[in-house]
């Protein structure tokens, strides 16, 4: 047995060789006995991946076959969506300054928000101590657009051109009133970090459509201000690590630490990885830790990304008219517009989930100006993305989602003037929209009261939104589970209903 391993000794250094040979003799016996215990334990703990990993040394057709067979019995039903781009508007966009038109407010300028509307709701520490809660009507003008006659404010002139492709959800509700818990809730179904994000669940459940790129990719607009975003939002939680979102950045290195170091030509990288893989396999045989396999598949992915990422992040083959459509920012890597364009390329290449973040929607003060400048940065590219996907014929199996973590209050935080007001966080009602695969185009669902404060018809809770999203991918949200710490978890945990009215 020891001799079998001799040819694998690769180090020139005597000491290292000695170490490597020790791996055979002493550790082999010791660790295999330990390892069997660990394997047994592993299977007791229900780590399904333990025996299901793909042996990288197997014939290519075996690999293909292994990718093709879904071990989890997914999808549960025929999917509508093949891929998704989630345009996360971080900070909480003001629904009544963008989509939720409230004409009656104009007569109520400066009046106190009625207690009956607030119905004793606890406010944040930022506006909860205000002696007055004056109603701040939107300074934006609203018009109806398209055949669907959807209301959009003049903050978003480009988006108003594509409203007939959008499905507005005006009665969104969340449980959280502050940024970090609310974003975490929106992205993982729980307010505390540590659960898998939506993209990780889909990657775990449905697998990859392109082995050369990650299934789940995150893009964050550069120079973002406001509440920080963190990797747990696109984290894999307790799912195997290869399902975490891979962040692409602007600039020379879209994915950090991917390029070869200086003075290394990378020619023997494949050889190095194979050898490392052998060592890791030994380690895996000894300990049965599924994270070792996750690490190995991530090395392989990084290796493939060394060629696939420069290719996909190169926007030079896009036509001028495309750049024009996305706006002049789209030529500046890392902006929201450039990320939208990059997202389209990634989706075309078979990436299943592109999660885009744009910060700065937290208009506690200077709300009209803030909404306007945020819209200027995002409106054109958002609309262009919808148009572009449609033109290319991939909107009908691509889901586009636009939305933040909560809405904003109808009353002014801070001083209210005719031209200026601030708005505080508001979890009880906000607007999101979806477009594309399987959702009704030119449709508006749900209604809020005259203050855009409470949902009066067809509320959609974050859990319901998650359930619907998974449904579009052919996944029954109650059946995609993962056992962790003694119980089975779902994206929607014990909540959520598919909102069938949104579906075509």
């Amino acid at each position: 047995m020891c001799n079998d391993h001799q040819h694998k000794l690769r180090s020139n250094n005597k000491d290292l060789q000695k170490l490597e040979s020790q791996l055979d003799r002493r550790h082999f016996l010791k660790k295999t006995s330990l390892g069997i215990g660990a394997l047994a334990l592993g299977s007791l703990l229900g780590t399904e991946k333990l025996f299901a990993g793909i042996d990288k040394n197997s014939a290519p057709e075996d690999i293909l076959k292994a990718y093709n067979k879904n071990r989890l019995g997914l999808p549960h039903h025929l999917p509508k969506a093949k891929r998704i781009i989630y345009l996360f508007q971080s900070g909480g966009p003001s629904q009544m300054d963008l989509f939720d038109y409230k004409p009656k407010l104009s007569d109520m300028f400066g009046k106190e928000l009625p207690d009956s509307v607030m119905s004793g709701q606890r406010l944040t520490g930022m506006s909860g101590n205000q002696s007055t809660l004056p109603i701040a009507p939107s300074t934006f003008n609203f018009k109806q657009y398209g055949e669907s006659r959807a209301w959009v404010s003049d903050a978003m002139p480009y988006l108003s051109e594509v409203v007939d492709d959008l499905c507005f959800i005006k009665g969104m509700q969340t449980d959280q009133i502050n940024h970090t818990p609310a974003i975490t809730f929106m992205q993982t179904g729980n307010q505390l970090p540590g659960r898998p994000s939506i993209g990780s669940w889909l990657s775990y459940g449905l697998g990859s459509d392109n082995e050369n790129l990650p299934t789940f990719i995150t893009l964050v607009s550069k120079n973002g201000k406001g509440q920080p975003l963190k990797a747990s939002l696109w984290g894999n939680g307790f799912l195997p690590t290869e399902h975490q979102g891979v962040q692409f950045r602007s600039g020379k290195d879209p994915v950090l630490y991917l390029s070869d170091p200086e003075n290394y030509d990378g020619n023997d990288r494949r050889h190095m990885l194979d050898y490392l893989g052998n060592l890791n396999n030994l380690q895996h045989d000894a300990y049965g830790d599924p994270e070792i396999q996750a690490r190995m598949s991530q090395y392989e992915m990084a290796f493939k990304m060394q060629t696939s990422v420069p290719e996909v992040s190169d926007l030079s083959d896009e036509s001028d008219s495309t750049f024009e459509m996305y706006g002049k920012d789209s030529r500046d890597p890392g902006t929201y517009a450039a990320n939208c364009l990059m997202a389209r390329k990634l989706l075309e290449k078979g990436v299943k989930f592109v999660q885009l973040y744009h910060q700065g929607w937290d208009q506690h003060n200077y709300c009209p100006g803030g909404v306007k400048s945020q819209s200027q940065k995002t409106d054109q590219a958002t609309a262009a993305l919808v148009k572009d996907l449609k033109q290319r014929g991939i909107l009908d199996d691509t889901l586009v989602v636009w939305g933040g973590e909560f809405g904003r209050t109808v009353y002014s935080q801070g001083q209210l003037t005719k031209e200026n007001y601030g708005r505080d966080h508001h979890p009880k009602a906000f607007t999101m929209w979806m477009a594309g695969a399987g959702v009704k185009p030119g449709f508006s669902y749900g209604e809020t009261d005259d203050f855009s404060y409470n949902v009066v018809k067809d509320p959609v809770h974050v859990h319901d939104f998650h359930a619907t999203l998974l449904h579009l991918f052919g996944v029954d949200h109650e059946r995609l589970t993962f056992k962790h710490q003694g119980r089975r978890y779902r994206l929607t945990d014990v909540h959520g209903n598919v909102v069938k009215d949104l579906l075509t």
């Binding site: 293909l64 879904n70 019995g73 025929l78 459509d209 033109q391 009908d396 199996d397």
Partner: protein
């Protein structure tokens, strides 16, 4: 009836299932010792046998008494109970006799040749097995043991498999499986807890000792539903603590059966007022969940599964196959762009012909940017179930589109960047199911659409 028996007696009676295992152990062990000592020719081992037999008989007697107490509850079917009762007593009696023979208090010299010790012990084991079996039948129902037997098995009521929710029998397909799954372990023909059995429709209509369990058309007042909807900690809540409670969906189905279907045992879903929620639950129960959300769409074809080898073979050809719903046999096939870079037109034809071997299984087909020519279309037009077809960035002309009209299920076709012209527009109109035709970067212009007067369906998307 139950009221006439003191609670204390019933309390003790419930220890019967516990105590009953003692004689089984003791007596069986006596048998093992006997056989083992003969085999090993080791007489020392036999010294334990009298004790085991005595304890077996003693605990058997206790079990008999406790069993009688339990039987007073009246929850069990008389005939099955009697058999178990007499076999139990017989086992106990034989145990004492065997003990007597062993310690030579009972002398059966005339039977010496028959080797009474081993004979009685064998008899005991047989009796134990029979008694135990009848006891098990009482507790778990007579089909418990053989339910999952791999061959033969108890005859099952075969229901006709349905393909549409409307064809399903409300009771047979939806309600009965729930009852059998969640209630039958205590309410069957041999173990009638509370006097209720749900073995068949007659038994259900007979109700339990508290009367009828169903009021047709009034689920909220029907005992069956009332018990299920109680607070889970309530004493009368069903199923009792420790058993799996009914899910919301199951409760919805029961309510639907009693309210909408008047608790009828024969009606089908089609003849009952059925809302979407019930249809959804029912189709999930029947395993018809695929595409349940869409009413107006093309029915999903039912096809046979594709063998793994076949998939592998096609994947090697460059097709990427993804099953659209698990074990539906329906696939998305994608040929990666430029898969035939060095091949000829014929090579592409060969690839397509190979894929045609599973033509019915392909629901989505993508052949973008692969030098697909008009000649190939006659092959592509044979994928009769294709709903989404991507042919963009291929040198195709109007002749190709004319042939695609054979694909009756096509809902979306992508012809971006092909050479088609306005002449193809009538072909699009011919495709009955077509919703979207993507023709950006072709010779079709916006003006062409206006000229032809095509507005709504199919939606021809230019830019």
């Amino acid at each position: 009836m139950e009221n006439s028996v003191p609670d204390f007696v019933l309390f003790l009676g419930r220890f019967h299932p516990l105590v009953v295992h003692l004689p089984i152990g003791f007596l069986f062990f006596a048998f093992v010792l006997e056989v083992f000592s003969r085999w090993k020719k080791n007489p020392v081992l036999t010294s334990g046998i009298p004790l085991a037999l005595f304890l077996g008989g003693l605990s058997g007697a206790v079990a008999c008494i406790l069993g009688y107490m339990l039987s007073l509850s009246g929850d069990y079917e008389e005939a099955a109970l009697d058999t178990h009762f007499w076999f139990g007593i017989a086992t106990t009696a034989i145990a004492f006799i065997a003990w007597g023979i062993r310690i030579e208090k009972i002398k059966v010299s005339s039977l010496k040749k028959l080797q009474p010790n081993i004979a009685f012990l064998t008899l005991l084991v047989i009796l134990l097995s029979v008694t135990g079996h009848y006891g098990g039948n009482l507790t778990h129902g007579s089909d418990y043991l053989v339910k999952y037997m791999p061959f033969g098995g108890a005859e099952k009521q075969e229901l006709v498999a349905v393909t549409k929710v409307e064809d399903a029998e409300v009771f047979g397909h939806l309600v009965n499986p729930i009852l059998q799954n969640k209630c039958a372990s205590c309410h069957n023909s041999s173990k009638k807890k509370g006097g209720l059995s749900i073995a068949d429709s007659l038994a259900i209509l007979n109700g339990g000792k508290n009367g009828d369990i169903l009021i047709p058309g009034d689920a909220s007042n029907s005992e069956m539903l009332k018990r299920v909807l109680l607070d889970p900690h309530h004493d009368d809540f069903m199923p009792p603590e420790g058993k799996t409670p009914l899910t919301e969906e199951e409760i919805a189905i029961l309510t639907y059966w009693i309210d909408n279907a008047q608790a009828n045992f024969k009606t089908k879903v089609a003849s009952v007022e059925t809302d979407e929620n019930i249809t959804g639950i029912a189709s999930t129960m029947l395993g018809l969940s695929a595409g349940s959300s869409s009413g107006s769409e093309i029915p999903i074809p039912s096809v046979s599964l594709v063998a793994d080898d076949k998939i592998t073979e096609l994947q090697v050809e460059g097709f990427r196959l993804r099953e659209l719903a698990f074990e539906s046999g329906l696939y998305e096939a994608v040929l990666a762009p430029n898969s035939n870079e060095n091949g000829t037109t014929d090579d592409m034809s060969k690839k397509l012909e190979k894929l045609l071997s599973i033509k019915e299984n392909i629901l989505w087909l993508s052949l973008e940017n692969n030098e697909i020519k008009d000649d190939h279309i006659k092959l592509i037009a044979q994928f009769i179930n294709v709903q989404k077809l991507k042919l963009n960035d291929n040198p195709l002309s109007d002749a190709a589109v004319a042939q695609l009209t054979q694909l009756e299920n096509l809902t979306s076709v992508n012809l971006l960047g092909t050479n088609i012209t306005a002449k193809s527009i009538p072909s699009f109109s011919e495709m009955k199911q077509l919703k979207y035709a993507y023709v950006w970067k072709t010779k079709i212009k916006k003006e062409d659409l206006e000229k032809k007067g095509i507005n709504d369906y199919p939606k021809i998307i230019i830019d």
